[in-house]
Structures are given as structure tokens and as C-alpha cells.
């Protein structure tokens, strides 16, 4: 029979770190209170045994939940049939032992059967604090284990000591008054004092406070903008050589195919359909990898809770709060986990507004699109593109701010908001883990987009080849794709683009990055013979409407950028929004509103450019 154990504890106490060691998983650990927002279950790593599984839960300050993520933990403890009888492992941060002991008293009162794991053993040592855990265990009547999350030292003892029986005692919901808290604090202080021997303690907060005296000073905002700009601009700077390499690789493959099989239908399809599609998207994969690396670095450093505190006040003015910051920032990677991260926001109103603007953040799927369009606007100037790139990220924050300002006028402030952000110790990022996680996210980015890219490449290619005329490929205007294009053209003409870009815009509703690959295919199959060999940017430069005016002008490209900044094209986001907000109406309204604003904005930008500059 398999035994289940539930890890509970205060935010940032090291639950997910322990869970990863126990189960051999790779869940994200972040130096931010509130990084886990959903429970997850995993079987024990076979290294350590069999027939045991563990449940990781979102951190909770008490058994009386106050935010949606804490409610998840409450459900695991009380409601979920699979887990509500399981033995619990209370994870306590050793450095804050005295304070986190409150949960010990609450768990006892609730009749929950549990053991204690004190983590951060390495920091206790560094601090020169010696705790007699055997005595503590005896005094409070609960098994206590010590664990070092950096080395996994102590894990075997813990596993060996876990009980194989479950307590049948019914669990009680508790409610505490001030007096209960006060009594618990006094008891905790006495217990901890009895068992602690402090040598001449090292203040492990020394370095943290020194760094904070800079990062949270008057200059704090300068550092904040500096760090963010560096993060976004460096995506382009660092990745440029890798992108060039990938591009060279693909064009080599494509020439090889075409010279090996000249005039073969299949070879042309492979090189100008499939290879060109992947090349168009994959040259931007290094950017995505660097984005994940940069975010991972920031997440584990401990800077994020500080940044949240710094901008809490400005954000409040827009109807958000400091706790909106981390979800918004993760929106730069992907809106789906970012929407889930809003569970850490206690205020319903803040959570609502944050959820609305998250899909407007420049997620990684938009990155190839911006990359292509910026390369068109600023050819051969990687430094400038880097800066403009960072500018686009800030611009999406600005549009988000405008949207939340508008929304905050309609939604009344709710009474349930608090900020109260614990500032954890700064920690040296564990580079190996960050690289591993960034690589695995990049891999899943490619495997998710890959099939969609192939699908559209095949579809568009066939669409251009059929219906056959005398068993030859038809004139473009007669082909299926050409006919479809003529029907669609009036919709896209006001944006200043032709039907080929329109096909790209529609395919982007399957996945935004597919815009880039469909552009590569449609422009290649529709280009004249002599242009087909050129790369997408050159073809774009020469692309013209039937009347000879160029398609890609500063106006139409800026319009496209605006369109992609605002448009909600990701159906997974809509589904997540429905699930998290519990309101399908909200999600569908958002879908319609954002796409309308995106389209109208793009039209206005293009028309204004024509009016003033042409």
C-alpha cells in the first residue's frame, strides 16, 4: 500500500526544495514567499524507497487561510479525500524557528498528525546557532528532523522515521483570537529558548541589510529600472551570435536539400516550407532561453519581493498592489502560469485587475514576432534593437498601467487587501539548477510550437499548389490560398498589410510565434522565382501591393507591433482565465475587447503614419 505525506509550512520555508529532493522532481523553487500556488503530488524517488508519495502545498502563514493560495492548502488538509487524513510534514525554516512554531500549536489544536522538518540547517550552522532538536521533540511531543536543502543531508533519517499508519482522529477547523496568538508566541519563545545554545552569533542578515541599504534607498528605482532594462535588452545582445549560428545552419541545410534534389516537388516543399518555417521561429529561441535564464536568476536571488515592495505605492495608484508585480513579471514568460500566480494576491479587486492585464505582457511567444519586426525596422543594429526591445517590455507595462487605471475606476476597492511582504535573505543563485530549468522550459516551448508550425507549413504549401490546373500548380490568384486571401484582404488592408500577413495574423491564434513561420512560407511561395532564395527580411523589403506600393512600411510594421502587444490570441490563456476567475463572461469579454482594441489601434497607427509621413 502506498502512503501519502503532505508538506505544509509557511511561505519560503523550503517545502518545494524538500519535495524536489524527495521525489526527484524539478519544480520551481523561488526565493519569494508565495511561489507555489497549486498542490502537486509525486511518488518518492526510487533512490530513497518505494510506496510513498508526497504532496507539496502553497505556503500558508496559518491554518486560517487569507488568500486563494492558502485556501488551496486548506483544501488539501481538510477537504481533499486523498490527502485529508495523510500524515503531515510541517516544514519550518530553522532561521525563523520561533515564529514559525505558531503553526505547531495550530496543527496540534486541529488534531492533525504531523512530524516537523527544520530546514536551512546550513544557515543555522553559519549563524552559529545550536539547537537540541531531540530535546525540542521531547518537549513538544512531535518528531523533529533536520534538513539541509542545499545538500539534502538529513533526508534518509526523515524518510526512515515517517509513520506508516494514519491517525483516524477527525480534524478540527480552528479559529484564533489575539490571545491565542499571544500565548503561542510566548510558548514558542520559551520552548526555543530552552533548547537553543547560541555561540557568538553571526548576523546572517548582515549582508542582506547592507545590500538593501543600496537597493531600497532613494536610488532604489534607478536600480530597479537598470535591472529590468538589463534583463530585457540583454536578451537580444547575448543571443545575437547564437541566432546567427542557427540561421546559418538552417540555410546550409536548405541549400543542401535543393542542390541534392533539383526541381523536385518534395525537396522544394522541405526546404521552402518546413525548413524555412522552423528557421524563422528557431532563430529566436536563444532569446527565449536567455529570458528564462534571466528570470530564473532574478527569482532565486531574493530581489523580487524587494522590487514588489518598491513599486507597491505606484502600483496602488493604478488599482494594483505590490503583490501584482511577480505575477505580471512572470507574464513576460507566459500568461498561463502568471494567471495562476495571482492566487498569492489577497485582494479580489487587485487580483481581478492583475488578471486582466497579464495577457497584455510581452510573453515569450511574442518574442519571435517582435524580433522579426524589429529586425525589419532596424537592420543590422543589434545594440539598438536590444534597447528598443527593452522599450517594448516597458511599453507593455505602460499599456497595462493604462488598462488598470481604467478598470480601477469601475471596480470598487475591496476591503481584503494587504501587502505585508517578508523580505527573505539574498541567496546566491544556483546556476546549475537555473540553467537546467531554463533549458527544459525552452525545450517545451519548441515541442509545443513545433507541431503547429508544421501543420501550417503543410496547409499553406498545399493551399498554394491546389487546385491543379492541367496537373500543374495554379496561378497564385487561382490557388485556394490566393482565393481565400482575396476574400480576406479588405479586413487587413486598413492595417496597411496584404492578405499574406493576414494569413499570418490568423494562424497566430494557434500560437503567436507561428506568425513568423507562416510569413516565411507565404512570402516564399508567393515571391517571384528570383526572390525565393532570399531570406524573409529581404523578401519583406521588396513585397508590394498590386498597385506597387510597399507593404511593409514603418507605419504598417508599428501597427503590427501594436496589434501583437494588445491582442489576446492564446486560447490556453482564455481557458486558464475562465478557470482561475470562475467567470467565462469575464474571459470572453476580455478576448473580444483586447482584440478589438488591437485591431483598431493598428489601423489608426497605420493610417496616421500615411497621413503625416507619406
Amino acid at each position: 500500500m502506498s502512503h501519502t505525506y503532505v508538506l505544509v509550512g509557511q511561505p519560503n520555508s523550503g517545502k518545494t526544495t524538500l519535495y524536489n529532493w524527495l521525489t526527484g522532481s524539478n519544480y520551481k523553487t523561488v526565493n519569494y514567499p508565495g511561489s507555489t500556488i497549486e498542490y502537486s503530488m509525486g511518488s518518492i524517488d526510487l533512490k530513497h524507497g518505494t510506496n510513498k508519495s508526497f504532496v507539496d502545498t502553497p505556503g500558508t502563514y496559518s491554518l486560517i487561510p487569507k488568500s486563494p493560495d492558502e485556501i488551496v492548502t486548506g483544501k488539501v488538509l481538510y477537504d481533499n479525500e486523498q490527502t485529508n487524513k495523510a500524515h503531515c510534514i510541517l516544514v519550518i525554516d530553522g532561521v525563523h524557528l520561533e515564529r514559525q512554531m505558531t503553526l505547531v500549536f495550530q496543527m496540534k489544536q486541529a488534531s492533525i498528525d504531523f512530524s516537523i522538518v527544520v530546514t536551512m540547517a546550513d544557515l543555522l550552522k553559519e549563524q552559529n546557532t545550536q539547537i537540541d532538536f531531540a530535546a525540542l521533540s521531547k518537549n513538544i511531543g512531535v518528531a523533529v528532523y533536520v534538513f539541509n536543502g542545499q545538500t539534502s543531508e538529513g533526508i534518509d533519517k526523515l524518510i526512515a522515521g515517517l509513520p506508516l499508519t494514519v491517525s483516524e482522529k477527525p480534524r478540527k477547523k480552528i479559529s484564533w483570537t489575539y490571545l491565542d496568538f499571544q500565548r503561542a508566541r510566548i510558548d514558542a519563545m520559551e520552548e526555543v529558548e530552552k533548547v537553543t545554545r547560541k555561540g557568538n552569533t553571526n548576523d546572517i542578515y548582515g549582508f542582506t541589510k547592507k545590500l538593501d541599504s543600496w537597493l531600497l534607498s532613494k536610488l532604489g528605482f534607478v536600480f530597479f529600472f537598470g535591472i529590468m532594462t538589463l534583463l530585457f535588452a540583454s536578451l537580444f545582445w547575448f543571443s545575437a551570435p547564437f541566432s546567427d549560428l542557427i540561421e546559418a545552419g538552417f540555410s546550409y541545410v536548405s541549400t543542401q536539400i535543393e542542390t541534392a534534389f533539383p526541381d523536385s516537388f518534395l525537396a522544394t516543399f522541405l526546404s521552402q516550407g518546413i525548413v524555412a518555417s522552423f528557421a524563422a521561429v528557431l532563430v529566436f529561441v536563444p532569446q527565449i532561453l536567455f529570458l528564462f535564464l534571466g528570470l530564473g536568476f532574478l527569482e532565486s536571488s531574493g530581489y523580487l519581493p524587494r522590487a514588489a515592495a518598491l513599486i507597491d505605492h505606484p502600483l496602488q495608484k493604478m488599482g494594483l498592489g505590490g503583490r501584482s508585480f511577480v505575477p505580471i513579471l512572470s507574464g513576460f514568460a507566459c500568461a498561463v502560469p502568471a494567471l495562476m500566480a495571482t492566487r498569492n494576491i489577497s485582494s479580489k479587486r487587485d487580483r481581478f485587475i492583475t488578471s486582466f492585464i497579464i495577457p497584455m505582457m510581452s510573453c515569450s511567444a511574442r518574442l519571435p514576432v517582435y524580433g522579426l519586426l524589429l529586425l525589419f525596422l532596424f537592420p543590422d543594429n543589434a545594440f539598438l534593437i536590444g534597447l528598443v526591445f527593452a522599450g517594448l517590455y516597458f511599453l507593455s507595462l505602460f499599456f497595462g498601467a493604462v488598462a488598470s487605471l481604467i478598470l480601477s475606476k469601475f471596480v470598487k476597492p475591496s476591503k481584503d487587501q494587504f501587502f505585508m511582504m517578508e523580505l527573505p535573505l539574498y541567496r546566491r543563485p544556483r546556476i546549475r539548477i537555473i540553467i537546467k530549468q531554463a533549458l527544459s522550459k525552452t525545450r517545451s516551448y519548441i515541442t509545443r510550437a513545433g507541431p503547429i508550425i508544421i501543420f501550417f507549413a503543410v496547409l499553406l504549401w498545399l493551399g498554394a499548389q491546389f487546385p491543379r490546373v492541367n496537373s500543374q500548380a495554379p496561378e497564385l490568384a487561382e490557388s485556394y490560398i490566393g482565393q481565400l486571401g482575396q476574400v480576406m484582404e479588405p479586413v487587413f488592408k486598413p492595417m496597411g498589410v496584404d492578405w499574406r500577413v493576414g494569413v499570418g495574423l490568423i494562424s497566430a491564434f494557434a500560437a503567436r510565434e507561428v506568425f513568423v513561420s507562416t510569413m516565411a512560407v507565404t512570402f516564399k511561395v508567393t515571391a517571384d522565382e528570383e526572390h525565393q532564395e532570399k531570406d524573409l527580411l529581404q523578401i519583406m523589403n521588396q513585397a508590394k501591393f498590386a498597385d506597387g506600393t510597399p507593404i511593409f512600411t514603418v507605419g504598417s510594421v508599428l501597427g503590427l507591433i501594436f496589434f501583437f502587444m494588445i491582442a489576446l490570441q492564446c486560447m490556453t490563456t482564455v481557458a486558464t482565465q475562465i478557470r482561475e476567475s470562475g467567470s467565462a463572461k469575464f474571459a470572453w469579454t476580455q478576448l473580444i475587447v483586447l482584440n478589438l482594441v488591437a485591431y483598431v489601434g493598428a489601423v489608426v497607427i497605420n493610417q496616421a503614419y500615411r497621413l503625416f509621413f507619406l
Partner: protein, 72 residues
């Protein structure tokens, strides 16, 4: 009372308010009780949160939250 930075205060009382009762409850959760000694480290620029530390916590509190702590 004007708050001096980097100096030790004692929490005299934790004020309640009907406006937003959860703030006080959350302060309890975080371990704030009457009689606790705290140091007000600094206030973040432009009316931002206060940073309060004690032997057991290092935390940023919004002004509205900080004002619930009656310090002497």
C-alpha cells in the same frame, strides 16, 4: 510621533480597525504581538512601505499596515 530609523521600539498595542480587519489578523500570523521589540530599519522612497525587523522577522509593511503598530 515621528519615527526614528535604526532604533529599537516596543509594540505597545496592535490596533484593530473595521476598515480592513484582515490586516490585523495577518500581523498576528506574522508573529507581531504586544511587547515585541522591533527595529524600524527605513522607509522606502516616495511613500513606500516601511521595513521592520526583529529577531524573528524582516518584513516590508505598507504605511496603512505599519500604522496598526503602536510603537513606544
Amino acid at each position: 510621533m515621528s519615527i526614528e530609523f535604526n532604533r529599537s521600539y516596543k509594540i505597545q498595542k496592535i490596533l484593530k480597525s473595521d476598515q480592513n480587519a484582515e490586516i490585523t489578523d495577518r500581523l498576528y500570523d506574522l508573529g507581531f504581538v504586544e511587547g515585541l521589540e522591533v527595529i524600524v530599519e527605513k522607509r522606502m522612497p516616495f511613500g513606500g512601505p516601511w521595513i521592520v525587523s526583529s529577531t524573528m522577522i524582516y518584513v516590508a509593511l505598507r504605511d496603512e499596515e505599519f500604522q496598526r503598530l503602536e510603537l513606544v
